[in-house]
Amino acid sequence: MTKFTVKDHDMVPEHVLLTPEESAAVLAEFGIEAPQLPKIHVTDPAAKEIEAKVGDIIKIMRKSPTAKQSIFYRLVID
C-alpha cells in the first residue's frame, strides 16, 4: 500500500498548529485553561503530520452545512 498524506483526504478537516501566542489568545478568548480544551493524541495521524508536540494546541477547521465553517481547538496529549 502506498503511503498517503492524511490531510489531503477529503474527509479530513484542515488541522493547523497554533503558535504559543495564538494559543494564549485562544485560551484568553474562551477564558479557560489549556486542560479544559478537548484533547487529541500526539499519535493521531493528523497531529503527527503537522508535527504537533504534547501541550500544543491544534486548530481544526471543519466544513459545516449550517455554519459554513466551524472552528474547533484541541490540546495535544500523549
Binding site: 474562551f30 477564558g31 479557560i32 486542560p35 479544559q36 480544551l37 478537548p38 471543519r62 459545516s64 449550517t66 455554519a67 466551524s70 472552528i71 474547533f72 481547538y73
Partner: protein, 875 residues
Amino acid sequence: MTVPKRIGKIRFGLISPQEFRKMSVVKIITADTYDDDGFPIEMGLMDPRLGVIDPGLRCRSCGGRPGECPGHFGHIDLIAPVIHVGFAKLIRKVLRAICRDCSRLMMKDNEKKMYLEQIQTLEKLGQMTDDTVNKVFAEARKNKTCPYCGAPQQEIKFERPLSYIEEGHKLTASDIRDRFEKVPDEDIQVMGMNPGTARPEWMILTVLPVPPVTMRPSITLESGQRSEDDLTHKLVDIIRINQRFQENREAGAPQLIIEDLWELLQYHVTTFLDNTVSGVPPARHRSGRPLKTLSQRLKGKEGRFRGSLSGKRVNFSARTVISPDPNLSIGEVGVPMDIAMELSVPMIANVRNKEIVKTFVRRGPDRHPGVNYVTRPDQRRVKVTDKNCEEVAEQIDIGWKIDRQLADGDIVLFNRQPSLHRMSIMSHRVKVMPYKTFRLNPAVCPPYNADFDGDEMNMHVPQTEEARAEAEILMRVQENILSPRFGGPIIGGIHDYVTGSFLLTHRRKPIDRRSAMELLKKFDIPELPEPEGIVDGEPYWTGKQIFSLILPKGLNLAFKADFCYNCDVCKNEDCENDAYVVIEDGKLLMGTIDAEAVGAFKGKITDRIIKEYERSVASEFLDRMTRLALRGIMHAGFSFGIDDEDIPKAAADQIEETTRTAREKTQQLIEAYNAGELEPLPGRTLDETLEMRIMQTLGKARDTAGKIAGRHLGLDNSGVVMAVSGARGSMLNLTQMAACVGQQSVRGERIKRGYAGRTLPHFRCGDLGAEAHGFVESSYKDGLNPTEFFFHAIGGREGLVDTAIRTSQSGYLQRRLVNALQDLEVKYDGTVKETRGMIVQFKYGEDGVDASRRDYASADNVKRIIKNVLKKESV
C-alpha cells in the same frame, strides 16, 4: 453552600476479618435485644454502642443524638467459617484453578508473567480485564496435575447453591479457606485480584459484621409492643445457631450434629445476605412473609438505588385521569374540585393582604377557596376546621402563613410520563371544575403525547415565589408552542380541529347571517365583515371570511396546503383545487386551512404568528382556532360510517378486473420462470428477480385499485376529507377499506414460512402464485377469506412485535444518551461546557443557533421580508 468535593478514586475490594473487627465497636454475643424494662442489653443486638434511634438518648460510641449519629458496626465471631453467597461462583473458579495440595495457580511461570502483563496494561488503559482473567481461569483448570508439586488434581463439582464436591466428598468452608490462605500474592494478581484489598480467603466469612441499629430500627406498635426489623430477626437466628454450635462442639457432640448445625449456620448467613438465592428456601417471618434482607434492600425497582436514590416522592401533587375540554384555553387545566380542596398554595399575611387572608380563613376548609392550615409566626401549625375558622380568622396578623386551597388562576406544573422531552412538563393555569378528571384542551395533547383512552397525568403545585416565577416565565404552554426539536409548532389542531377548519374554509360555501353569527358566538367580535355577496336578497358570507376574523391583523403568508396534489406545474394563486393558501393583512384570500396551516407538528400559520407577534398572540390564535374549528365541524356535520366505504358496482368490477389481471400476470411470470425465459435483473438471482417482479406487479395492482376507488370517493366522503386534510388516516387506509388490502409481508418479503414448500395446506407445494403467498385481494369492507385472514394476522403480528421492540430499544438508547448529556450547559458565550468547565463545543451546534428561534433561511423568507418592509414604507 458546601464546597463541591472532587472524588479522586473509588476502590472496590473485599473486607478482611481484621478490618471487620477494627471497625466494630462491640462484639455481639447474646441474641436478646431489650430487657424487661425496655432498655437495650449490652453486647446484645441493640447495644447502645451501635448507635441511637430513641429520641433523647445519646450514642455511647460517638455521643451524637438520633439523626446526628450515623450508627456504628458491631461484629459476631462465627464459630466456623461460612461461604458468602455473593462469591459462590468466584470461589468455584478459584478452587478449580489452584492446586489442591500446594494452592499455587496451576500455570507455568512464563504464562503467568504474560497474563499479568496483559492485565496490567488493560488496567492502565482503564479497560475491562474480565476476558483475560477468564482466560487465566480456563487455562489453569485444564491441568490434570500441578506443574509445581505434581499432585494429581480432581474434578470439583459445584452443586447449587453452595456445595463444592471433590471425589464425592463435600468440601467444608474451612477446607476451602485453608486452600485459599496458601495462595501466594503473585498468583492472586494473575487471577485479576489485588492481594492488598481482596484476598480469596476473605470470600469465606469468619467474622460477620452487625449493621448499626440505625439501619434496622425497631418500631413500637400502638399496643406498646416492640416489633423488630427483618435484619434484626435474621441476626437473632444467626447468633442463636452460632451459640448452639459452640455448645455442641465444646460438649463433643457427634460429627453428624456438628455438620447439621454448620449447614444451618450457613443457611442463616446466606439468607441474611440474600433471601432470593435459588435452591435455598427463603427465610420467612412468623406470618409467612419472606424476610427482606440485605440484598433485597438494594435490588430492584423499590430497592435503595432505583427506589430511594434515583426516585423521589413529592408533596403538593395530584394524579388522575385526563379528559378533553375544547372550551379551555390551551394554557389552562381543569382541576377537579376534590383535588383543589386538598392542595394548597402558601400565603403570608402582610399589611396589604391581611383582610383578604382573613376572608379566606373565615371560609374554613369546606367552602371552596378556603384554608386547610394556618402557621403562626412561631411555626405552630393549626388545622382550620369548620368550628374554629372564625376564631382563627380573628387571630390572623402580619407574619401568619395560611395554606390557601388551589383556586382559579393559580399556576401549576402538568406532566405526563414518560417525560421524554421538556414539553412533557409544562405549566398551566388552574380552572377548578366539577367531576373527577383533569381537563385539557386537545390541542396540547401532542407535546404530552396524551390521548383520552384512560391516560393519567400528574399535577404539581409550586410553593414558593421563585418556583412560580420560573414556572410562569419558562414553562408556560405559550413558551413551549415551538419545539426545539424541529423549530416548528408542536401544539396545534388535531383530528376534528383540522377537519373542522377544512370544512369551514374549503371553497366558498355561502353561510347565511344566522349561521355566521352562530359560528362566531364564542368570540368577542362585534360586527360581521362586508358580506361576500347577496343571493335572493339575503347577504351571505364564506368560511374564509369567518376564519379571517381570528387571524391577527397584518399577517402575510402564502404556502401550499397539505392536500395539494403536487401537480407537475404548480399554478400557485390559480390553483383550481383551492390548495394554495394566501393570507394578506390577516385576511384569508384563497386556499383551504388544513393540517399544514394549523395542525400540530406543521402549523405554518401558528409558526408565522409566533415568529412575527408575541407568544400570547399565538396562544390566543390557537384558542380561537380550536373553538371556531369545532363550530365549523358542527355547522357542516360530520360522521363516518360503514357505508362510507361503499363504492359503486362499476368501480368494484373494475377493481376485480385489475386484481385478476395482476394474478394472471403473476402466473405468466411464474411460467416464464419455470420455462427459464425470465431475464434476471442486474445483481440479482433468478429467484430474487421473480420475487421482485411479483411484488412489483401486486403492489401496482393495489395502487391501481386504490386509484379506482379514489375516483369514486370525493370530498363528499368523510374518510377522504379526513385523509386529505391531514386530520387522520391516509388514502392508503381508505383503499384498504374500500378496494383491496394488498400484499402482506414479513421482513419486506412475501410470506414464505409455514409448511415445507408451502405456506398453508390449502396450496400445492411450490406454488408461487399471488394468493399462496399472502396477497389479500379483498377489502376490509368485503371481508377476508380464511387464508387471507391468516396471512393478514401474520403481517399484523410482525407489526406489533416491531413496535414493541422499537419502543423498548429506542427508550433505552434515549436514556443512555440523556444520561450522558444531562449536565452539559450552553454558557453565555455560546460555548457548551460540562460541569468541570471542560469545553464540549466551541459554539453550540457549530452555528450557535437555537432551532426554535430561527426562521428558515430561505429565499422565500427574504422576499417576504422585503415585501413587508416596502409596504410599510409606502404607507
